[in-house]
Amino acid sequence: MTKFLLPLGGFIAIFAFLFIGLGLNPREVPSPFIGKAAPTFELGNLHRPDSRFGTQDMAGKVWLLNVWASWCVACRDEHPLLVDLAKQDTIPIVGLNYKDKQDQALAWLKQFGNPYRVAVMDADGRIGIDFGVYGVPETFLIDKKGIIRFKHIGPITKKAWEEKMLPLVRELQKS
C-alpha cells in the first residue's frame, strides 16, 4: 500500500509549492525606475493646450502620475477609485493622457468624471517611453523630491491601493 501512496505524496508536495506560488508575483520584478528621479517633462494642459505643465510644478508634493487613455477599457475599471481619491483629497493626481486625441479624452473625462488636478497630453507617447510605460493604465507614486517610489502596472485595485500604496503615501507625506 505504501508504495501506491508515493504518487499522492509527490502531488501534495507540488501542490504545496503551487499554492505558495499563487501568493507570489513573478511580475513584481523590481522596476529600474523605483528609487530614481522621475523623468522630467513639460507638456500641454489637456483642458488649456496653450498653458504648459511640468514636473517642477509638483515639487515638494507627494503625487501620483496616472497614465491613461480614452481608448483604454481597463482605465474605466480603476477610474471610480481615482475619482474617490480626488474627492477625499488624499493625494494630488496628475493624468498623463497617453497617445490619445484631445476631444476624445475631454469627452471621456466629462462622462466618467475628472479626478486629475492637471491632465497633460502625451500625444506621441514620448514621455510614456521615458517612464518605461508598456501598458495603460500605469501609475507612478512620486515623492517630494521627485523620486519614483512605487509603480503599479494595470488598473489599481482597491486592495492594492489600501494595502500597498496608501501606507506608502502616508509615510511619504509625513517625511
Binding site: 501506491f4 507540488i14 506560488g21 507570489l24 513573478p26 477599457v73 497617445k99
Partner: protein, 657 residues
Amino acid sequence: MIPEIGQFALILALLLSIVQGVLPLAGAARGNPVWMGVARPASRGQFLFVALAFGCLAYSFVTNDFSVLNVANNSNSGLPVPYRFAATWGSHEGSMLLWVFMLTGWSAAVSIASRSLPEEMVARVLGVMGLIGTGFLLFMLLTSNPFDRLFPAAQDGRDMNPLLQDPGMVIHPPMLYMGYVGFSVAFSFAIAALLGGKLDSTWARWSRPWTTLAWCFLTIGIMLGSWWAYYELGWGGWWFWDPVENASFMPWIVGTALIHSLAVTERRGAFKSWTVLLAITAFSLSLLGTFLVRSGVLTSVHAFATDPKRGVFILIFLAIVTGGSLVLFAVRAPKVGLGGKFEIVSRESLLLGNNVLLAAACGSVLLGTLYPLFLDALQLGKISVGPPYFDSVFAPLMAPAIFLMGVGPLARWKEARIPDLAMRLRWAAVIAVVSAILVPLIAGEWTLMKSFGYLLAFWVFAASLTSIRERLLVGTQLEWSRLGQLPRGYWGMIAAHVGIGVFIIGVTTVKSYEVERDVRMDIGDTVAVGGYDLKFEGTEEVAGPNYSAARGTVVVSRNGKAVRTLHPEKRFYPVQQSTMTEAAIDSGLFGDLYVSLGEPVGDRAWSVRVYSKPFITWIWGGCVLMALGGFLALTDRRYRASLAQRSALPAHAASPS
C-alpha cells in the same frame, strides 16, 4: 439578448453536468439502471447547451457587440471577420469556453461510440466527465464569465492581440485543447475502472483509441504552435522551452508513454497500475498546464491576462481531481495484481524501459518548469531556467528511448534474446553507423554531435525497415503481397516512429547547418546566405485591413539568376499600439530562407535578419507523420470491426492476471 441566451445556456449546461456527474455514478454504485441511463442523454444535452453558448459568443464577436466586456477587450470593428470569429477563443474567458465545448464534445462522442460497453462502465466514465465539466463550468460562471456586459458600451474594442492575428493561431488552440481535453477520456476510463475494481485488458482496449485520438490532436496542436512561433515571432526559433510550451509538452510525453503502456496492458494484461497512473498523470498535467497559463504563477512570453482568484479556483480543482484520483489509486491499485509475467529481455521490458525514460523526461521538464517557482516559494531568489538546462537534460534521456524504439517492435512478447535481436538488427546498425559518419562528411565539417543525431535518425529508419522486412518474410522469400495485409495499427506505429526519425533529422540539420545573419541593408545591398544572394530593394508603405505596414522587397537569386521575391513586413496595429514582424519565408523540402525586418536605421536602410534554415520543415513534417500514424492506427480493422458488429463482441474478454 444573444449574450444572455449564451449565459443561460451555460447555466443550464452546469445543471445538466451536475446531474451527469452525480446520478450515473450513484447508479453504478447501487446498481440502479435508471440512474445509470441518465448519463448518455445528460452528456448530449450538456454538449448542445455549451455549443449554443459558444455560438452566442461567436455571434457577439462577429457582429461587434461591444456591450460585451469580453468582446470590447479582445476585438475591434476593424478586425477581419475570420479573426473576429477566432477572437471567440482568443481571450481567457473564451478559451475556457472552448475548453468546456471540447470536453462536452468528447463526452458526447463517448456517449455515442460506447454501445458495446457495459452500462456500468459508460455510467462511470460519463459521470466522471460530468464532474470535470461541473468544475470548469463553475469556474467560468464564477470567475471568468465570457458574457459579462459593459455599461456603457465601448465605442470600439481594444482589438485582438496582433500576435494572434494569424491563420496558424486560429487553429492552434482548438487542436491543442482537443488534445488536452481528450486525455480526460482516458482519465475517466481509468477512474471508472478503479471505481469498478475491474482493471483488465478490456478496459485497456476501450480506452486505447480515445487516448490515441487525443494524442494525435495534441501532436498537431503543439506542432502548429511551434510553427507559429517560428514564422510569427520573427526570431527564427521553433521551440523556446517556455513554461507555456512545456505545459503542452508534458501531457504529450506522458500521453506517449500511456499509448505504449496501454498496448502492453491490452495485449498482456501487465503494467495495469502503471497505466492507470499514467492516465491520471496525463490529464493532471493538462490541468496543471491550464493552471500555469491562467494563474500567472510563472512568467512567460505568452502574456495572457492572469488573475490570482482564477488561479486559486483551478488549483483547488486540480487538488480535488488529482488528489482524489491518487487517493483512489492508493486504495484500489494494491488489489490489482501484476498481470502477465515477462522476462528481463522482452517486448514488455523494452516498453517498460521506454516508459521509464519518458516519465523521467517529463519529470525533468516539470522540474525545470517549476524550479523558478520552488526557489521563489522558498525565498531563495528569482531565477529563470532556460533552454541550456532543458537541452542538456532532455536529449540524453531521449537518446536511449530512441534506441529502444528501434528494438521494441522486433522483440517478442514475454521473452526475447539479446543475441537473436542483435543478429536481426545488425544490418540496421551498420546502415545507421555508416550514414551517421557519411552524411556530416558530405555536408561539410564532421562533429560528434551531428553524427550522433543522424545516428539516431537512421537507426529508427533502418530498424523500421528491418521490422517491415521481417513481416514480409516467408522462409527466406520476401512476399510482397503481404504488404497490403499488414494491419493498419502496425503501419500507424511505423509511420509514427519514422516521424520521430524525420523530426530528429530536422532538428540535427537545423542546429548544425543553420546560418543566421543580422545585417544592415541599404537599398541595393546584397547579402549571401546558404548559396543564395539576397538583394534588398527598399520598403514601401502598404495599408492592411487593420494595420499599416512597411513592406520590404528582397530579391533572391542563385548564381546570378533571380529565383524568387520575398516581402517581409513590419506591421503597425494602431488600436493596440503594437508593432509586429511578419517574416517572409521561402519554404522548401530541403530548407527555408527566412527574411525578417528589424528596425529602420537611417533613411532608407533597415536592419534585416536573414536566416538559412536547412531541413527545418522536417521538424513539422515529422510531427505530422506521427499524428498521421496515430490516425492510421485508429482506422485499424479491429476498431472498424468493433464499430460494425458491436453486439458480436464477447461480453467478457479474458484477463490474464
